[in-house]
């Protein structure tokens, strides 16, 4: 099994406070990997280290390696290249409020210098179709993205992230603010997207992790307690701490 993204001995700090402790994990290509753990265990920090967003926070520091196809994202690549190849979808849908649906989708492409209108239009249609939004918005492409429902906004954000053809997609609790129907659509979309992309998703919803992921890692107090196939983690975890967490005994 090829591992698109590999994390080796990763530690992270906010000033003096260490929030990640020597985490090593390999993400299988074209699979969905869920990172679960209680609030404050370092999930968001971890995922933000993968595309160098952690370094944007004043006082933040990282040690260890994050390898994308064997290249160290901190030493062998510049931050722009990393963030193009490793896209991110956030907890709350955050379409650019002053941009239309069309402009939201192509925002990343324009930053990369793509100006050809035909290319941009084709990309908008392709990506909105990929996220299942095209039929719902094809007549309103010039309307503001902020006018869409929460679930539609999140799918728009996913289309925006996909527009630059990322090789890895990071998702930080992408359905936590959505209703069940919108959540179901996003979860179904995640399952489809893994055909083209390697997906890492953070969720505090263990049922969701069980539903959509192929592999699961359990993070606790900044350390990776257990990592393995999702079926194993949720049926027969090896570590008693994982067992206690997934059965709701703590967290």
């Amino acid at each position: 099994m090829y591992h698109k993204l590999e994390v080796k001995n990763l530690s992270a700090w906010f000033n003096e406070k260490q929030v990640l402790k020597d985490v090593s994990i390999s993400f299988p290509s074209n699979n969905v990997t869920a990172i679960i753990g209680p609030s404050g265990c370092g999930k968001t920090t971890f995922i933000r280290c993968l595309n160098r967003m952690h370094e944007l926070v004043p006082g933040a520091r990282v040690q260890g390696k994050v390898l994308l196809d064997g290249r160290d994202v901190y030493r062998d690549m510049d931050a722009m290249e990393v963030r193009r190849k490793v896209g991110m979808v956030f907890q709350k849908p955050n379409p650019f409020p002053n941009m239309s649906i069309f402009e939201n989708v192509v925002a990343g492409l324009k930053l990369l210098g793509v100006r050809d209108k035909k290319v941009l239009s084709e990309r908008v249609e392709t990506k909105l179709k990929e996220v299942g939004l095209w039929e719902e918005v094809k007549d309103d492409l010039r309307k503001s993205g902020a006018m869409l429902s929460g679930g539609q906004q999140q799918r728009l954000c996913i289309a925006r992230a996909l527009a630059v053809d990322p090789e890895v997609l990071l998702m930080d609790e992408p359905t936590s603010s959505l209703d069940p129907a919108s959540t179901a659509k996003i979860e179904s979309l995640i399952r489809e997207l893994k055909e083209k992309t390697t997906i890492v998703i953070i969720t505090h919803n263990v049922q969701q992790a069980a539903r959509i992921s192929d592999f699961t890692g359990f993070l606790y107090l900044g350390s990776l307690v257990e990592f393995g196939e999702t079926k194993k983690i949720f049926e027969s975890p090896k570590n008693p701490l994982t067992e206690r967490y997934v059965t709701g005994r703590f967290g």
Partner: protein, 209 residues
Amino acid sequence: MMIVQEYLEKINALLIEMNEVILTLGDYVEDVLKDKRGGLLPLTTELCRAAQMKEEKVQETCIESLIRLQPFAGDLRTIATSMKVAYHLSRICRYLRNITEVAEEFSLADCETGRTLSLYREAEEMVQVALRSYLQRDLKTARDLIKADESIDQKYREILRDLATGRHSGACILFNGLAARIIERMADHACYLANETIYMVTGERRIID
């Protein structure tokens, strides 16, 4: 909303009730094998239906807990195995009823049933030990029980060899042969039940013959 522990307590209570039916059925089987008593089929059929209804109740409770709680890990394994344990207990009830059914077909007055009775008592003890190991999550007892199945198989083969000696009547050969076969299967289900205990406690699935 009920928590996992409350569901498990409800399920275990139903399993214990199923076992009480097994014990009652067992008394009737003793009557057949020891005292050659007949006419028990209506009673055992009724008891068997009661056990099946309890099995249905276990399945319903397990499914409700899966829907409501979406349990994982040890909780998930316990719920999943409870459904199988209820099935095995229900099958054991049917086996016991089947012995009384076979007894209706033959005149047992002159039959020597001591070996079959002895086989039954051993199998019945296996069922009780298997269920105890499940309810108490006793891994060692469950493992030992599976190993002990060979003794039942051996005694079953001895009964068949004895029946083939020509010193028994046709009716006795048929009754003892059929009853011993049913009892041997009953012991197999005790082993399956013990195997569920092993999976529930360890998460390891093993295939047993």
